[in-house]
Symmetry: C2
Subunit: 329 residues, 2 copies
Protein backbone atom coordinates (compact mmCIF):
# COMPACT_ATOMS: atom_id res chain seq x y z
CA UNK A 1 0.00 0.00 0.00
CA UNK A 2 1.50 3.27 -1.04
CA UNK A 3 1.64 6.22 1.26
CA UNK A 4 -1.24 8.56 0.78
CA UNK A 5 -0.62 11.54 -1.47
CA UNK A 6 2.87 10.58 -2.48
CA UNK A 7 3.70 8.40 -5.43
CA UNK A 8 5.40 5.06 -4.93
CA UNK A 9 9.18 4.85 -5.18
CA UNK A 10 11.54 2.15 -6.29
CA UNK A 11 11.88 1.19 -2.69
CA UNK A 12 8.17 0.49 -2.49
CA UNK A 13 8.35 -1.62 -5.61
CA UNK A 14 11.34 -3.54 -4.26
CA UNK A 15 9.53 -4.28 -1.03
CA UNK A 16 6.36 -5.28 -2.83
CA UNK A 17 8.27 -7.53 -5.21
CA UNK A 18 10.51 -8.90 -2.49
CA UNK A 19 13.69 -7.99 -4.34
CA UNK A 20 16.51 -5.56 -3.79
CA UNK A 21 16.30 -1.92 -4.76
CA UNK A 22 19.07 -2.24 -7.32
CA UNK A 23 17.21 -4.96 -9.11
CA UNK A 24 14.22 -2.73 -9.63
CA UNK A 25 16.44 -0.04 -11.06
CA UNK A 26 17.95 -2.51 -13.47
CA UNK A 27 14.59 -3.64 -14.72
CA UNK A 28 13.59 -0.07 -15.47
CA UNK A 29 16.84 0.58 -17.29
CA UNK A 30 16.74 -2.47 -19.48
CA UNK A 31 19.71 -4.04 -17.78
CA UNK A 32 19.51 -7.86 -17.94
CA UNK A 33 18.03 -9.46 -14.87
CA UNK A 34 16.64 -12.91 -14.06
CA UNK A 35 13.37 -13.55 -15.86
CA UNK A 36 11.67 -14.48 -12.62
CA UNK A 37 12.82 -11.28 -10.89
CA UNK A 38 11.91 -9.16 -13.83
CA UNK A 39 8.35 -10.45 -13.80
CA UNK A 40 8.01 -9.89 -10.09
CA UNK A 41 9.23 -6.34 -10.40
CA UNK A 42 6.96 -5.54 -13.30
CA UNK A 43 3.95 -6.96 -11.52
CA UNK A 44 4.71 -5.01 -8.38
CA UNK A 45 5.23 -1.84 -10.38
CA UNK A 46 1.93 -2.23 -12.17
CA UNK A 47 0.17 -2.98 -8.91
CA UNK A 48 1.54 0.12 -7.29
CA UNK A 49 1.21 2.28 -10.39
CA UNK A 50 4.88 3.03 -10.18
CA UNK A 51 6.57 5.47 -12.55
CA UNK A 52 10.23 6.35 -12.55
CA UNK A 53 10.83 9.77 -11.03
CA UNK A 54 12.29 11.77 -13.85
CA UNK A 55 13.84 14.32 -11.54
CA UNK A 56 15.70 11.86 -9.39
CA UNK A 57 16.94 10.11 -12.48
CA UNK A 58 18.03 13.36 -14.09
CA UNK A 59 19.84 14.41 -10.97
CA UNK A 60 21.81 11.23 -11.07
CA UNK A 61 22.43 10.86 -14.77
CA UNK A 62 22.65 14.51 -15.74
CA UNK A 63 20.33 13.86 -18.67
CA UNK A 64 16.86 15.33 -18.57
CA UNK A 65 15.44 14.10 -21.88
CA UNK A 66 14.12 17.60 -22.28
CA UNK A 67 14.93 20.22 -24.87
CA UNK A 68 13.80 23.82 -25.03
CA UNK A 69 12.51 25.82 -27.95
CA UNK A 70 12.87 29.58 -27.79
CA UNK A 71 10.56 31.47 -30.11
CA UNK A 72 9.41 35.09 -30.41
CA UNK A 73 5.75 34.11 -30.27
CA UNK A 74 3.31 31.50 -31.29
CA UNK A 75 0.80 33.62 -33.20
CA UNK A 76 2.89 33.96 -36.32
CA UNK A 77 1.90 30.88 -38.34
CA UNK A 78 5.46 30.08 -39.29
CA UNK A 79 6.52 29.99 -35.66
CA UNK A 80 3.55 27.95 -34.54
CA UNK A 81 4.09 25.47 -37.34
CA UNK A 82 7.74 25.22 -36.39
CA UNK A 83 6.86 24.75 -32.73
CA UNK A 84 4.60 21.86 -33.63
CA UNK A 85 7.15 20.16 -35.84
CA UNK A 86 9.94 20.53 -33.31
CA UNK A 87 7.70 19.23 -30.56
CA UNK A 88 6.66 16.18 -32.55
CA UNK A 89 10.18 15.44 -33.71
CA UNK A 90 11.48 15.61 -30.15
CA UNK A 91 8.64 13.41 -28.93
CA UNK A 92 9.54 10.79 -31.52
CA UNK A 93 13.06 10.80 -30.09
CA UNK A 94 11.73 10.37 -26.57
CA UNK A 95 12.26 14.00 -25.60
CA UNK A 96 9.87 16.49 -24.08
CA UNK A 97 9.77 20.10 -25.18
CA UNK A 98 9.88 23.18 -23.03
CA UNK A 99 8.55 26.23 -24.81
CA UNK A 100 9.85 29.70 -24.02
CA UNK A 101 8.43 32.82 -25.67
CA UNK A 102 10.56 35.91 -26.02
CA UNK A 103 8.26 38.33 -27.82
CA UNK A 104 11.33 39.05 -29.97
CA UNK A 105 12.73 41.14 -27.15
CA UNK A 106 16.52 40.76 -26.77
CA UNK A 107 16.41 40.88 -22.98
CA UNK A 108 13.54 38.44 -22.81
CA UNK A 109 15.46 36.16 -25.15
CA UNK A 110 18.47 36.26 -22.87
CA UNK A 111 16.22 35.51 -19.94
CA UNK A 112 14.73 32.58 -21.81
CA UNK A 113 18.17 31.18 -22.45
CA UNK A 114 19.12 31.55 -18.82
CA UNK A 115 15.85 30.07 -17.67
CA UNK A 116 16.10 26.99 -19.77
CA UNK A 117 19.80 26.56 -19.09
CA UNK A 118 19.07 26.61 -15.40
CA UNK A 119 16.39 24.08 -16.04
CA UNK A 120 19.12 21.71 -17.12
CA UNK A 121 17.70 20.97 -20.53
CA UNK A 122 19.73 18.70 -22.77
CA UNK A 123 19.65 21.22 -25.56
CA UNK A 124 18.17 24.44 -26.86
CA UNK A 125 16.76 25.33 -30.24
CA UNK A 126 16.45 29.05 -30.61
CA UNK A 127 14.95 31.41 -33.13
CA UNK A 128 16.07 34.71 -31.71
CA UNK A 129 16.79 38.30 -32.63
CA UNK A 130 19.39 39.20 -30.06
CA UNK A 131 22.67 39.34 -31.95
CA UNK A 132 24.64 39.41 -28.72
CA UNK A 133 22.86 36.46 -27.17
CA UNK A 134 25.05 34.77 -24.60
CA UNK A 135 24.86 31.04 -24.88
CA UNK A 136 26.49 28.79 -22.35
CA UNK A 137 29.01 26.46 -23.88
CA UNK A 138 27.78 23.68 -21.67
CA UNK A 139 24.41 23.11 -23.28
CA UNK A 140 24.03 22.23 -26.97
CA UNK A 141 22.43 25.02 -28.97
CA UNK A 142 21.04 25.05 -32.47
CA UNK A 143 19.97 28.32 -34.02
CA UNK A 144 17.25 28.66 -36.60
CA UNK A 145 17.40 31.35 -39.27
CA UNK A 146 20.21 33.24 -37.60
CA UNK A 147 23.90 32.55 -37.90
CA UNK A 148 25.99 33.32 -34.83
CA UNK A 149 29.37 31.70 -35.26
CA UNK A 150 30.92 28.55 -36.65
CA UNK A 151 30.54 26.97 -33.24
CA UNK A 152 26.77 27.41 -33.17
CA UNK A 153 25.03 25.31 -35.80
CA UNK A 154 22.38 27.20 -37.74
CA UNK A 155 19.53 25.62 -39.65
CA UNK A 156 17.58 27.58 -42.22
CA UNK A 157 15.80 27.34 -45.52
CA UNK A 158 17.78 27.96 -48.65
CA UNK A 159 16.78 31.60 -48.57
CA UNK A 160 19.22 32.60 -51.26
CA UNK A 161 18.04 29.85 -53.57
CA UNK A 162 14.46 30.78 -52.83
CA UNK A 163 15.09 34.37 -53.82
CA UNK A 164 16.68 33.23 -57.06
CA UNK A 165 13.79 30.92 -57.67
CA UNK A 166 11.31 33.74 -57.23
CA UNK A 167 13.10 36.00 -59.69
CA UNK A 168 13.47 33.29 -62.29
CA UNK A 169 9.88 32.22 -61.91
CA UNK A 170 8.60 35.74 -62.41
CA UNK A 171 10.76 36.15 -65.51
CA UNK A 172 9.68 32.78 -66.80
CA UNK A 173 6.07 33.84 -66.35
CA UNK A 174 6.63 36.79 -68.59
CA UNK A 175 7.38 39.57 -66.12
CA UNK A 176 9.67 42.28 -67.39
CA UNK A 177 9.71 44.98 -64.74
CA UNK A 178 10.51 43.44 -61.38
CA UNK A 179 10.10 44.79 -57.89
CA UNK A 180 11.34 43.53 -54.54
CA UNK A 181 9.54 44.38 -51.33
CA UNK A 182 11.05 43.60 -47.97
CA UNK A 183 9.94 44.15 -44.42
CA UNK A 184 11.48 42.65 -41.33
CA UNK A 185 13.81 42.93 -38.43
CA UNK A 186 16.86 45.14 -38.20
CA UNK A 187 18.92 42.29 -36.92
CA UNK A 188 20.78 40.54 -39.73
CA UNK A 189 19.52 37.04 -40.37
CA UNK A 190 19.44 34.28 -42.93
CA UNK A 191 16.16 35.59 -44.31
CA UNK A 192 18.02 38.59 -45.68
CA UNK A 193 19.44 36.28 -48.29
CA UNK A 194 16.04 36.13 -49.95
CA UNK A 195 16.71 39.56 -51.37
CA UNK A 196 20.30 38.69 -52.18
CA UNK A 197 19.23 35.66 -54.16
CA UNK A 198 16.61 37.69 -55.99
CA UNK A 199 19.24 40.25 -56.87
CA UNK A 200 21.71 37.64 -58.01
CA UNK A 201 19.21 36.03 -60.34
CA UNK A 202 18.19 39.39 -61.78
CA UNK A 203 21.79 40.31 -62.35
CA UNK A 204 22.47 37.02 -63.99
CA UNK A 205 19.45 37.38 -66.23
CA UNK A 206 20.51 40.89 -67.06
CA UNK A 207 17.32 42.53 -65.85
CA UNK A 208 17.00 45.58 -63.68
CA UNK A 209 14.72 45.69 -60.68
CA UNK A 210 13.66 48.14 -58.05
CA UNK A 211 13.44 47.46 -54.35
CA UNK A 212 11.93 48.86 -51.19
CA UNK A 213 13.30 47.49 -47.97
CA UNK A 214 11.70 48.45 -44.68
CA UNK A 215 11.89 47.57 -41.03
CA UNK A 216 8.97 46.24 -39.03
CA UNK A 217 8.54 49.55 -37.26
CA UNK A 218 7.91 51.30 -40.58
CA UNK A 219 4.66 49.48 -41.15
CA UNK A 220 3.04 48.85 -44.50
CA UNK A 221 2.07 52.39 -45.40
CA UNK A 222 5.30 53.18 -47.28
CA UNK A 223 4.62 50.25 -49.60
CA UNK A 224 1.26 51.68 -50.50
CA UNK A 225 2.79 55.09 -51.06
CA UNK A 226 5.43 53.54 -53.27
CA UNK A 227 2.83 51.72 -55.33
CA UNK A 228 0.77 54.89 -55.69
CA UNK A 229 3.80 56.77 -56.95
CA UNK A 230 4.42 54.15 -59.57
CA UNK A 231 0.88 54.03 -60.80
CA UNK A 232 0.24 55.81 -64.09
CA UNK A 233 -3.23 55.80 -65.56
CA UNK A 234 -4.25 52.72 -63.60
CA UNK A 235 -1.20 50.83 -64.71
CA UNK A 236 1.67 49.91 -62.42
CA UNK A 237 5.26 50.43 -63.51
CA UNK A 238 5.94 46.83 -62.50
CA UNK A 239 4.47 43.52 -63.50
CA UNK A 240 6.25 41.20 -61.07
CA UNK A 241 6.70 41.61 -57.33
CA UNK A 242 8.67 39.43 -54.97
CA UNK A 243 7.75 39.93 -51.32
CA UNK A 244 10.03 38.58 -48.65
CA UNK A 245 7.11 37.07 -46.71
CA UNK A 246 3.64 35.79 -47.50
CA UNK A 247 2.24 38.27 -45.02
CA UNK A 248 3.71 41.15 -46.96
CA UNK A 249 2.49 39.61 -50.21
CA UNK A 250 -0.98 39.44 -48.71
CA UNK A 251 -0.89 43.12 -47.86
CA UNK A 252 0.51 44.08 -51.22
CA UNK A 253 -2.20 42.11 -53.00
CA UNK A 254 -4.83 43.95 -51.00
CA UNK A 255 -3.26 47.30 -51.79
CA UNK A 256 -3.18 46.52 -55.47
CA UNK A 257 -6.80 45.46 -55.39
CA UNK A 258 -7.60 48.76 -53.76
CA UNK A 259 -5.67 50.59 -56.45
CA UNK A 260 -7.57 48.75 -59.11
CA UNK A 261 -4.61 46.73 -60.32
CA UNK A 262 -5.46 43.17 -61.26
CA UNK A 263 -3.51 40.24 -59.84
CA UNK A 264 -2.20 38.14 -61.52
CA UNK A 265 -3.33 39.59 -64.87
CA UNK A 266 -1.47 42.89 -64.61
CA UNK A 267 0.93 42.15 -61.79
CA UNK A 268 2.17 38.82 -60.50
CA UNK A 269 3.24 38.38 -56.89
CA UNK A 270 5.37 35.75 -55.21
CA UNK A 271 5.70 35.58 -51.44
CA UNK A 272 7.93 33.55 -49.16
CA UNK A 273 7.08 31.05 -46.41
CA UNK A 274 4.21 28.91 -47.55
CA UNK A 275 1.74 30.02 -44.88
CA UNK A 276 -1.70 28.45 -45.07
CA UNK A 277 -4.99 29.90 -43.93
CA UNK A 278 -6.11 28.34 -40.67
CA UNK A 279 -2.81 26.53 -40.66
CA UNK A 280 -3.89 23.92 -43.15
CA UNK A 281 -6.14 25.41 -45.81
CA UNK A 282 -5.37 27.47 -48.90
CA UNK A 283 -2.20 29.48 -49.39
CA UNK A 284 -2.42 33.25 -49.41
CA UNK A 285 -0.40 33.62 -52.57
CA UNK A 286 2.02 31.97 -54.92
CA UNK A 287 5.03 31.43 -52.76
CA UNK A 288 8.41 29.99 -52.02
CA UNK A 289 7.52 27.37 -49.45
CA UNK A 290 9.80 26.57 -46.53
CA UNK A 291 10.31 22.93 -45.52
CA UNK A 292 9.34 23.45 -41.91
CA UNK A 293 9.18 19.78 -41.05
CA UNK A 294 12.66 19.27 -42.41
CA UNK A 295 13.98 22.28 -40.58
CA UNK A 296 12.65 20.90 -37.31
CA UNK A 297 13.98 17.44 -38.00
CA UNK A 298 17.41 18.71 -38.93
CA UNK A 299 17.64 21.01 -35.94
CA UNK A 300 16.71 18.21 -33.56
CA UNK A 301 19.10 15.79 -35.23
CA UNK A 302 22.00 18.15 -34.80
CA UNK A 303 20.96 19.05 -31.28
CA UNK A 304 20.87 15.46 -30.11
CA UNK A 305 23.93 14.32 -32.01
CA UNK A 306 26.26 12.40 -29.75
CA UNK A 307 29.48 13.44 -31.37
CA UNK A 308 29.57 17.18 -31.04
CA UNK A 309 33.08 17.70 -32.36
CA UNK A 310 32.28 17.98 -36.04
CA UNK A 311 29.12 20.00 -36.26
CA UNK A 312 28.07 21.79 -39.43
CA UNK A 313 27.83 25.54 -38.95
CA UNK A 314 25.12 26.28 -41.48
CA UNK A 315 22.61 23.98 -43.10
CA UNK A 316 20.28 25.27 -45.80
CA UNK A 317 17.24 23.20 -46.68
CA UNK A 318 15.60 23.18 -50.11
CA UNK A 319 12.57 25.37 -50.69
CA UNK A 320 9.97 24.91 -53.39
CA UNK A 321 7.80 27.11 -55.54
CA UNK A 322 4.06 26.69 -55.15
CA UNK A 323 1.69 28.49 -57.44
CA UNK A 324 -1.56 29.73 -55.98
CA UNK A 325 -3.51 32.62 -57.32
CA UNK A 326 -1.14 35.52 -57.50
CA UNK A 327 0.83 34.27 -60.49
CA UNK A 328 -0.16 32.97 -63.89
CA UNK A 329 1.44 29.61 -63.21
Amino acid sequence: MKRKGSSPTMKDVAREAGVALGTVSKVFNGIPVGEEYKRKVEDAAKLLGYQVNTYARALKTNKTLTAALILPNTTDPFFSLLAGEVCKTLARRGYRMLLALSDADPDAEQQCVRMVEQNKVDGIIGLTYNPALEISESVPYVSIDRYFSPAVPCVASDNFGGGQMAARKLLELGCERLLFFRIGSDVPGEADKRGDGFQAACLQAGVEYEALRLRDEDGYAPFLAFLREHLREGRLDFDGIFCNTDKLAYHVARMLAELGVRVPEDVQIIGFDGIRRFGSEALYCSTISQPVGQIAETAVDILLQEDRTHLPSLICLPVSYVSDGTTKG
Copy 2:
Protein backbone atom coordinates in the same frame (compact mmCIF):
# COMPACT_ATOMS: atom_id res chain seq x y z
CA MET B 1 37.79 27.04 -10.07
CA LYS B 2 34.92 24.91 -11.20
CA ARG B 3 35.42 21.46 -12.53
CA LYS B 4 35.62 21.38 -16.28
CA GLY B 5 32.44 20.52 -18.09
CA SER B 6 30.27 20.37 -15.06
CA SER B 7 28.42 23.33 -13.64
CA PRO B 8 29.27 24.64 -10.17
CA THR B 9 27.25 23.46 -7.20
CA MET B 10 26.25 25.06 -3.95
CA LYS B 11 29.23 23.36 -2.40
CA ASP B 12 31.54 25.18 -4.78
CA VAL B 13 29.87 28.47 -3.97
CA ALA B 14 30.13 27.76 -0.24
CA ARG B 15 33.82 27.00 -0.54
CA GLU B 16 34.46 30.05 -2.69
CA ALA B 17 32.53 32.30 -0.32
CA GLY B 18 34.02 30.69 2.75
CA VAL B 19 30.63 29.96 4.28
CA ALA B 20 28.63 26.86 5.04
CA LEU B 21 26.57 25.04 2.46
CA GLY B 22 23.33 25.76 4.26
CA THR B 23 24.00 29.47 4.19
CA VAL B 24 24.27 29.45 0.44
CA SER B 25 20.99 27.61 0.19
CA LYS B 26 19.34 30.18 2.41
CA VAL B 27 20.55 33.03 0.29
CA PHE B 28 19.05 31.44 -2.79
CA ASN B 29 15.76 30.85 -1.05
CA GLY B 30 15.37 34.33 0.34
CA ILE B 31 15.76 33.16 3.89
CA PRO B 32 17.25 35.94 6.05
CA VAL B 33 20.99 35.72 6.49
CA GLY B 34 23.65 38.11 7.72
CA GLU B 35 24.19 40.95 5.26
CA GLU B 36 27.91 40.24 5.15
CA TYR B 37 27.38 36.57 4.37
CA LYS B 38 24.77 37.31 1.81
CA ARG B 39 27.12 39.57 -0.12
CA LYS B 40 29.90 37.03 0.00
CA VAL B 41 27.63 34.31 -1.31
CA GLU B 42 26.26 36.44 -4.11
CA ASP B 43 29.72 37.48 -5.19
CA ALA B 44 30.95 33.93 -5.21
CA ALA B 45 27.89 32.79 -7.13
CA LYS B 46 28.35 35.47 -9.75
CA LEU B 47 32.04 34.66 -10.02
CA LEU B 48 31.36 30.99 -10.57
CA GLY B 49 28.31 31.55 -12.73
CA TYR B 50 26.30 29.47 -10.34
CA GLN B 51 22.68 28.58 -10.98
CA VAL B 52 20.47 26.53 -8.71
CA ASN B 53 19.99 23.03 -10.06
CA THR B 54 16.29 22.83 -10.71
CA TYR B 55 16.24 19.08 -10.64
CA ALA B 56 17.94 18.69 -7.31
CA ARG B 57 15.65 21.30 -5.85
CA ALA B 58 12.56 19.67 -7.31
CA LEU B 59 13.60 16.29 -6.01
CA LYS B 60 13.80 17.72 -2.56
CA THR B 61 10.79 20.01 -2.56
CA ASN B 62 8.49 18.05 -4.81
CA LYS B 63 7.71 21.24 -6.73
CA THR B 64 8.98 21.54 -10.27
CA LEU B 65 7.68 24.99 -11.23
CA THR B 66 6.66 23.37 -14.47
CA ALA B 67 3.24 22.88 -15.96
CA ALA B 68 2.26 20.98 -19.06
CA LEU B 69 -0.10 21.95 -21.84
CA ILE B 70 -1.67 19.17 -23.86
CA LEU B 71 -3.01 20.23 -27.22
CA PRO B 72 -4.10 18.41 -30.39
CA ASN B 73 -1.75 20.45 -32.55
CA THR B 74 -0.24 23.82 -33.01
CA THR B 75 -1.25 24.55 -36.58
CA ASP B 76 -4.84 25.42 -35.77
CA PRO B 77 -4.65 29.15 -35.02
CA PHE B 78 -6.88 28.86 -31.98
CA PHE B 79 -4.61 26.27 -30.44
CA SER B 80 -1.43 28.13 -31.24
CA LEU B 81 -2.85 31.33 -29.82
CA LEU B 82 -3.88 29.47 -26.69
CA ALA B 83 -0.45 27.88 -26.39
CA GLY B 84 1.15 31.29 -26.51
CA GLU B 85 -1.15 32.80 -23.93
CA VAL B 86 -0.79 29.88 -21.55
CA CYS B 87 2.97 29.94 -21.94
CA LYS B 88 3.19 33.65 -21.23
CA THR B 89 0.81 33.47 -18.29
CA LEU B 90 2.79 30.64 -16.75
CA ALA B 91 6.05 32.49 -17.32
CA ARG B 92 4.64 35.52 -15.51
CA ARG B 93 3.97 33.25 -12.55
CA GLY B 94 7.50 31.89 -12.65
CA TYR B 95 6.50 28.62 -14.28
CA ARG B 96 7.90 26.93 -17.36
CA MET B 97 5.66 25.21 -19.88
CA LEU B 98 6.04 21.74 -21.29
CA LEU B 99 4.14 21.30 -24.54
CA ALA B 100 2.71 17.94 -25.53
CA LEU B 101 0.93 17.40 -28.85
CA SER B 102 -1.65 14.65 -29.19
CA ASP B 103 -2.81 15.04 -32.78
CA ALA B 104 -6.32 14.68 -31.29
CA ASP B 105 -5.70 10.97 -30.97
CA PRO B 106 -7.18 9.49 -27.77
CA ASP B 107 -4.28 7.10 -27.23
CA ALA B 108 -1.72 9.79 -27.88
CA GLU B 109 -3.58 12.02 -25.45
CA GLN B 110 -3.44 9.36 -22.77
CA GLN B 111 0.26 8.95 -23.48
CA CYS B 112 0.76 12.68 -23.17
CA VAL B 113 -0.93 12.66 -19.79
CA ARG B 114 1.20 9.78 -18.60
CA MET B 115 4.34 11.35 -19.99
CA VAL B 116 3.84 14.65 -18.28
CA GLU B 117 2.65 13.05 -15.06
CA GLN B 118 5.81 11.01 -14.96
CA ASN B 119 7.69 14.18 -15.56
CA LYS B 120 6.39 15.38 -12.23
CA VAL B 121 4.84 18.59 -13.48
CA ASP B 122 3.00 20.69 -10.95
CA GLY B 123 -0.09 20.75 -13.10
CA ILE B 124 -1.61 19.96 -16.46
CA ILE B 125 -3.82 22.02 -18.72
CA GLY B 126 -5.43 19.83 -21.32
CA LEU B 127 -7.51 20.40 -24.40
CA THR B 128 -8.32 16.83 -25.32
CA TYR B 129 -10.81 14.67 -27.16
CA ASN B 130 -10.54 11.44 -25.23
CA PRO B 131 -13.72 11.21 -23.17
CA ALA B 132 -12.26 8.38 -21.11
CA LEU B 133 -9.01 10.14 -20.35
CA GLU B 134 -7.50 8.82 -17.16
CA ILE B 135 -6.14 11.60 -15.06
CA SER B 136 -4.12 10.91 -11.96
CA GLU B 137 -5.65 12.44 -8.86
CA SER B 138 -2.24 13.44 -7.66
CA VAL B 139 -1.53 16.18 -10.20
CA PRO B 140 -3.80 19.20 -10.64
CA TYR B 141 -5.61 19.19 -13.96
CA VAL B 142 -7.59 21.88 -15.71
CA SER B 143 -9.54 21.04 -18.82
CA ILE B 144 -10.24 23.50 -21.60
CA ASP B 145 -13.43 23.26 -23.64
CA ARG B 146 -14.35 19.83 -22.33
CA TYR B 147 -16.18 19.01 -19.16
CA PHE B 148 -15.19 15.76 -17.45
CA SER B 149 -16.61 15.77 -13.95
CA PRO B 150 -17.19 18.17 -11.08
CA ALA B 151 -13.77 17.27 -9.76
CA VAL B 152 -11.98 18.43 -12.91
CA PRO B 153 -12.27 22.18 -13.44
CA CYS B 154 -13.16 23.15 -16.99
CA VAL B 155 -12.52 26.55 -18.54
CA ALA B 156 -14.29 27.57 -21.73
CA SER B 157 -15.79 30.47 -23.57
CA ASP B 158 -19.44 31.19 -23.02
CA ASN B 159 -20.32 29.08 -26.01
CA PHE B 160 -24.02 29.10 -25.27
CA GLY B 161 -24.08 32.85 -24.89
CA GLY B 162 -22.06 33.18 -28.08
CA GLY B 163 -24.58 31.11 -29.99
CA GLN B 164 -27.40 33.25 -28.68
CA MET B 165 -25.48 36.36 -29.56
CA ALA B 166 -25.02 35.14 -33.13
CA ALA B 167 -28.70 34.42 -33.62
CA ARG B 168 -29.80 37.72 -32.12
CA LYS B 169 -27.27 39.64 -34.15
CA LEU B 170 -28.40 38.06 -37.39
CA LEU B 171 -32.02 38.84 -36.58
CA GLU B 172 -31.11 42.36 -35.56
CA LEU B 173 -29.35 42.79 -38.88
CA GLY B 174 -32.54 41.94 -40.68
CA CYS B 175 -32.14 38.24 -41.37
CA GLU B 176 -35.37 36.29 -41.53
CA ARG B 177 -34.40 32.81 -42.65
CA LEU B 178 -31.64 31.46 -40.48
CA LEU B 179 -29.31 28.52 -40.98
CA PHE B 180 -26.88 26.82 -38.63
CA PHE B 181 -23.86 24.97 -39.94
CA ARG B 182 -21.75 22.83 -37.66
CA ILE B 183 -18.68 20.70 -38.19
CA GLY B 184 -16.51 19.21 -35.53
CA SER B 185 -15.58 16.29 -33.39
CA ASP B 186 -17.85 13.46 -32.37
CA VAL B 187 -16.77 13.78 -28.79
CA PRO B 188 -19.16 15.96 -26.81
CA GLY B 189 -17.62 19.22 -25.74
CA GLU B 190 -18.43 22.70 -24.58
CA ALA B 191 -18.34 23.97 -28.14
CA ASP B 192 -21.54 22.05 -28.84
CA LYS B 193 -23.34 24.67 -26.82
CA ARG B 194 -22.83 27.14 -29.63
CA GLY B 195 -25.60 25.42 -31.50
CA ASP B 196 -27.70 25.10 -28.37
CA GLY B 197 -27.45 28.80 -27.69
CA PHE B 198 -28.33 29.59 -31.28
CA GLN B 199 -31.35 27.36 -31.02
CA ALA B 200 -32.45 28.85 -27.73
CA ALA B 201 -32.31 32.38 -29.10
CA CYS B 202 -34.22 31.41 -32.21
CA LEU B 203 -36.86 29.70 -30.13
CA GLN B 204 -37.15 32.68 -27.89
CA ALA B 205 -37.48 35.01 -30.84
CA GLY B 206 -40.05 32.72 -32.34
CA VAL B 207 -38.15 32.13 -35.57
CA GLU B 208 -37.55 28.84 -37.29
CA TYR B 209 -34.14 27.82 -38.52
CA GLU B 210 -32.57 24.94 -40.37
CA ALA B 211 -29.37 23.21 -39.42
CA LEU B 212 -26.75 20.92 -40.86
CA ARG B 213 -24.44 19.30 -38.34
CA LEU B 214 -21.49 17.25 -39.56
CA ARG B 215 -18.46 15.53 -38.19
CA ASP B 216 -14.91 16.36 -39.22
CA GLU B 217 -14.67 13.18 -41.25
CA ASP B 218 -17.56 14.29 -43.43
CA GLY B 219 -15.63 17.16 -44.92
CA TYR B 220 -17.12 20.31 -46.39
CA ALA B 221 -18.73 18.84 -49.48
CA PRO B 222 -22.12 18.19 -47.85
CA PHE B 223 -22.39 21.87 -46.99
CA LEU B 224 -21.92 22.80 -50.62
CA ALA B 225 -24.48 20.22 -51.67
CA PHE B 226 -26.91 21.61 -49.10
CA LEU B 227 -26.42 25.15 -50.34
CA ARG B 228 -26.93 24.04 -53.93
CA GLU B 229 -30.17 22.35 -53.02
CA HIS B 230 -31.44 25.48 -51.41
CA LEU B 231 -30.53 27.72 -54.28
CA ARG B 232 -33.42 28.80 -56.49
CA GLU B 233 -32.78 31.11 -59.40
CA GLY B 234 -29.52 32.36 -57.92
CA ARG B 235 -31.19 33.15 -54.63
CA LEU B 236 -30.52 31.21 -51.44
CA ASP B 237 -33.40 30.11 -49.21
CA PHE B 238 -31.53 31.66 -46.29
CA ASP B 239 -30.24 35.11 -45.55
CA GLY B 240 -28.34 34.47 -42.32
CA ILE B 241 -25.88 31.70 -41.52
CA PHE B 242 -24.21 30.94 -38.22
CA CYS B 243 -21.16 28.69 -38.56
CA ASN B 244 -19.73 27.06 -35.46
CA THR B 245 -16.18 28.06 -36.43
CA ASP B 246 -14.51 30.78 -38.44
CA LYS B 247 -12.90 28.13 -40.58
CA LEU B 248 -16.28 26.79 -41.59
CA ALA B 249 -17.52 30.34 -42.17
CA TYR B 250 -14.54 30.90 -44.44
CA HIS B 251 -15.39 27.84 -46.48
CA VAL B 252 -19.06 28.71 -46.64
CA ALA B 253 -18.26 32.22 -47.83
CA ARG B 254 -16.13 30.77 -50.61
CA MET B 255 -18.86 28.36 -51.61
CA LEU B 256 -21.41 31.14 -51.75
CA ALA B 257 -19.09 33.24 -53.86
CA GLU B 258 -18.75 30.33 -56.21
CA LEU B 259 -22.50 29.96 -56.34
CA GLY B 260 -22.85 33.61 -57.18
CA VAL B 261 -24.48 34.55 -53.90
CA ARG B 262 -23.33 37.88 -52.52
CA VAL B 263 -22.06 38.23 -48.95
CA PRO B 264 -23.19 40.17 -46.97
CA GLU B 265 -25.73 41.71 -49.35
CA ASP B 266 -27.79 38.56 -49.90
CA VAL B 267 -26.57 36.38 -47.09
CA GLN B 268 -24.89 37.35 -43.85
CA ILE B 269 -22.51 35.01 -42.08
CA ILE B 270 -21.26 34.90 -38.51
CA GLY B 271 -18.47 32.56 -37.46
CA PHE B 272 -17.06 31.64 -34.08
CA ASP B 273 -13.52 31.96 -32.66
CA GLY B 274 -12.10 35.26 -33.76
CA ILE B 275 -9.24 33.83 -35.82
CA ARG B 276 -7.01 36.38 -37.53
CA ARG B 277 -5.04 36.00 -40.72
CA PHE B 278 -1.35 35.49 -39.99
CA GLY B 279 -2.31 35.39 -36.35
CA SER B 280 -2.62 39.13 -36.05
CA GLU B 281 -4.09 40.66 -39.17
CA ALA B 282 -7.66 40.87 -40.42
CA LEU B 283 -10.45 38.55 -39.33
CA TYR B 284 -11.86 36.12 -41.84
CA CYS B 285 -15.45 37.01 -41.11
CA SER B 286 -17.82 38.61 -38.69
CA THR B 287 -17.48 36.43 -35.66
CA ILE B 288 -18.07 35.63 -32.04
CA SER B 289 -14.60 36.16 -30.63
CA GLN B 290 -13.21 33.99 -27.85
CA PRO B 291 -11.25 35.64 -25.03
CA VAL B 292 -8.21 33.45 -25.41
CA GLY B 293 -6.00 35.47 -23.11
CA GLN B 294 -8.60 35.30 -20.40
CA ILE B 295 -9.08 31.58 -20.91
CA ALA B 296 -5.36 31.03 -20.45
CA GLU B 297 -5.18 33.28 -17.43
CA THR B 298 -8.15 31.62 -15.77
CA ALA B 299 -6.90 28.12 -16.46
CA VAL B 300 -3.50 28.93 -15.00
CA ASP B 301 -5.02 30.65 -11.99
CA ILE B 302 -7.09 27.63 -11.15
CA LEU B 303 -4.26 25.26 -11.83
CA LEU B 304 -1.87 27.00 -9.47
CA GLN B 305 -4.44 27.73 -6.78
CA GLU B 306 -3.13 26.70 -3.39
CA ASP B 307 -6.44 25.71 -1.88
CA ARG B 308 -7.72 22.92 -4.05
CA THR B 309 -10.72 22.01 -1.95
CA HIS B 310 -13.26 24.41 -3.41
CA LEU B 311 -12.58 24.44 -7.12
CA PRO B 312 -15.18 25.59 -9.64
CA SER B 313 -16.17 22.84 -12.02
CA LEU B 314 -17.02 24.98 -15.03
CA ILE B 315 -16.06 28.54 -15.83
CA CYS B 316 -17.46 30.26 -18.92
CA LEU B 317 -15.77 33.42 -20.12
CA PRO B 318 -17.54 36.21 -22.00
CA VAL B 319 -17.32 36.27 -25.78
CA SER B 320 -17.87 39.30 -27.98
CA TYR B 321 -19.29 39.99 -31.39
CA VAL B 322 -16.93 41.52 -33.93
CA SER B 323 -18.20 42.64 -37.27
CA ASP B 324 -15.93 42.20 -40.25
CA GLY B 325 -17.11 41.86 -43.78
CA THR B 326 -19.60 39.03 -43.78
CA THR B 327 -22.39 40.95 -42.06
CA LYS B 328 -23.96 44.34 -42.65
CA GLY B 329 -22.87 45.57 -39.24
